[in-house]
């Protein structure tokens, strides 16, 4: 039931946010997105009602490690933002090492940090060179180290 309420709520919120942003200048071109927003809002309500009517059904979702989930989410967002800010290689190596240590679990040992850093540098730099030199993709670079 909780999942249904959350799901319906999300749909209504999304429809509402987009509704505020919508442009009403032309009927023909606004018809399609407007229709989508209305349908989404209606579906949201239906899902909520359905959830309330049906009540709790013990479909026990596998519990996830919330703390870990939060850490990974923050790491990924920081990585994405960091790529534009400090360049591809620096953000890449740092995030690579952090993620590798996260997967290894437990308190990181110095040797692991060293090997992971080495692996991160090799993989990230190789990736950087292939994309910028062979595929000519102008990846963002750091002004400090020039790559």
């Amino acid at each position: 039931m909780r999942a249904d309420l959350v799901c319906g709520g999300i749909l209504i919120v999304i429809a509402g946010t987009f509704w505020v942003q919508r442009d009403t200048s032309d009927r023909l071109y606004a018809a399609f997105p407007d229709l989508l927003l209305v349908v989404l809002a209606v579906l949201g309500v239906v899902i909520i009602v359905q959830g309330l009517v049906r009540g709790e059904r013990g479909a026990g979702e596998r519990e996830v490690n919330r703390r870990m989930l939060a850490i990974v989410s923050v790491l990924l967002v920081a990585w994405a933002l960091g790529m534009g800010l400090v360049g591809f290689t620096i953000s890449g190596v740092v995030a690579f090492v952090i993620m590798a240590l996260l997967v290894r679990e437990g308190r990181p040992r110095l040797r692991e940090v060293a090997t992971d850093t080495a692996a991160g540098v090799v993989i990230v730099v190789a990736c950087f060179l292939i994309f910028t030199r062979v595929l000519l993709v102008p990846l963002p670079v750091s002004t400090l180290i020039g790559m």
Partner: protein, 509 residues
């Protein structure tokens, strides 16, 4: 024409051509397997190289590259749940579950068989049916594209556990596709004050985010979930003979291969559709008609064969309107069109008459490339598969993350796209938890532009009629597709009832 084909055969059989095809296929596979780099981008990179070449060699290289790129997209789809190109979306549905069960080698082999057969059938369709099929293109108007998009949406019934949430997810996808400039009318929509959002959310960025970010998160949160992938793969490898077994198994159901290839060829002919839609439709049809329907989505090998056969058949199909009418059937065809023009070759009937040898050499070389994918793919694809399976999770997860970051950046060389990709992916992870399947969202993103464009263009083109919207229901071809839509909607209900009755019967007895 037959003389030309004969001469073309002689040309193709030379070592130079063979080497060109091999080089093209390998290069294409590498680019295709890289998320974010589509076949079109790869072909554009090749363009300057072909300027210096003879028309024939340049075209052959590009054709081989195109074929290889579409095939290569399946590798990452199967191994790490990341479609390398939008043509391999449906390949993830069963390919990745197979990987998780330690059957990734079989999945790679299945993709290879499907791609080779699909590629060859598409080329045969091109040679045999080109003039005939070209007429189909002209019969398809905006109204038909609209209904075809709606037909694609009926797939939701098949991929979502809860129909209503599936529909909601599909509509969310449609909504994402409306961000940016409207395809008809040039209105700017839903930019939330960010200038760069004028460009909207590219399909590949949405795709990488919605499919790959949840995979990465799962790998980091629960690395132990990969144990089966590694162990079972090791066991199977010890047993050996996986390739032969898998090939025999797939060939024992030729209907799936043929149907999927036919779908791919047909969708390829329609400009504006292409591989991203063909693979989804083929997957859905395979599932609908299969006896092992219940196993789809849980690692069914036919669910890998179908989309891969269809997307490589699109290569040949897409060249039908390109070579006969000068209309690129799919985005990569636009680049090949440019090469034709650069060499003074105008598509149309005379391309087949006056330049017959060149044209058929090109076509046959594309077919040859499809065949070459078998040996090359079995070596390279299985090599990659072995490497991925053997990579410890603590390196695999960040490496995938790195590739998704660089891939989503490379789509438009935009740092904003990387952020959009991650945010969409995390949102998709959360939405999956409340029952909104990411696959249905992606379906909406793929189909949104077709549905909206068809809708608005149809209304505009029929302004002369008393009721423009009536044109959506009066054109014979539209009616035909509407029937398909109704069937598509009714089918799951019918089969569900049948299965229920079956189950009841078994219970009674």
């Amino acid at each position: 024409m037959l003389v030309d084909i004969g001469n073309a055969l002689i040309q193709v059989a030379t070592p130079t051509m063979l080497l060109l095809c091999i080089a093209g296929v390998i290069g294409g596979m590498a680019v295709g397997a890289t998320p974010g780099l589509s076949a079109t981008v790869g072909l554009a990179l090749l363009l300057p190289i072909t300027f210096a070449m003879e028309p024939t060699t340049g075209l052959v290289l590009m054709g081989a590259f195109y074929m290889g790129a579409i095939y290569g997209g399946s590798f990452t789809a199967i191994l790490v749940n990341t479609p390398g190109t939008p043509s391999s979306i449906a390949t993830t549905f069963d390919g990745y579950p197979m990987t998780q069960q330690g059957r990734s080698e079989a999945a790679i082999v299945a993709s290879t068989v499907g791609s080779v057969v699909g590629g060859v059938i598409g080329v045969i369709g091109l040679i045999v049916l080109a003039p005939l099929l070209a007429q189909v293109v002209l019969a398809f108007g905006p109204q038909e594209y609209f209904w075809m998009g709606v037909f694609g949406l009926t797939m939701i019934a098949g991929i979502a556990p809860s129909l209503i949430k599936g529909i909601a997810a599909g509509f969310l996808g449609l909504l994402i596709s409306t961000i940016g400039i409207s395809p008809v009318g040039g209105e700017v929509r839903f930019t939330f004050g960010i200038t760069d959002m004028q460009g909207g959310v590219p399909l590949i960025v949405a795709l990488i985010g919605l499919f790959t970010i949840p995979t990465i998160v799962d790998l980091v949160i629960a690395p132990e979930s990969r144990s089966m992938e590694v162990e079972a793969d090791g066991d199977r490898r010890k047993r050996g003979g996986e390739v032969r077994r898998t090939v025999r198994d797939i060939l024992s159901r030729p209907v799936n291969l043929l149907r999927s290839s036919a779908i791919g060829t047909f969708v390829g002919i329609l400009p504006g559709a292409g591989g991203s839609i063909a693979n989804l439709i083929a997957y859905n049809e395979a599932k609908r008609t299969s006896k092992r329907r219940a196993n789809f989505g849980k690692g069914e090998i036919d669910g890998v064969v179908a989309p891969e056969a269809a997307n490589n058949a699109v290569v040949g199909g897409g060249m039908v309107p390109l070579l006969t009418l000068g209309i690129p059937g799919a985005p990569p065809d636009a680049v090949i069109y440019g090469v034709l023009l650069l060499h003074g070759l105008r598509p149309g009937p005379e391309l087949f008459d006056e330049q017959g040898v060149l044209t058929f050499t090109f076509i046959l070389a594309v077919g040859l490339s499809a065949l070459l994918m078998a040996p090359i793919g079995l070596v390279a694809g299985r090599g990659l598969q072995r490497a991925v399976v053997r990579t410890p999770t603590y390196y695999l997860a960040p490496t995938i993350a790195l590739l998704t970051a660089v891939g989503s950046y490379a789509v438009r060389n935009s740092p904003l796209d990387v952020v959009i990709m991650v945010l969409l992916g995390l949102a998709g992870y959360g939405l999956r938890k409340v029952g909104l399947p990411p696959a249905a969202i992606v379906l909406g993103v793929v189909l949104g532009p077709i549905i909206e464009t068809g809708f608005a263009q149809g209304l505009l083109a029929a302004t002369g009629d008393a009721h423009p919207w009536m044109s959506f229901f009066t054109r014979p071809l539209s009616l035909g597709i509407i029937v398909l839509v109704v069937l598509g909607l009714a089918w799951p209900l019918v089969t569900a009832r049948k299965e229920k009755r079956q189950a009841e019967k078994e219970l009674v007895s």
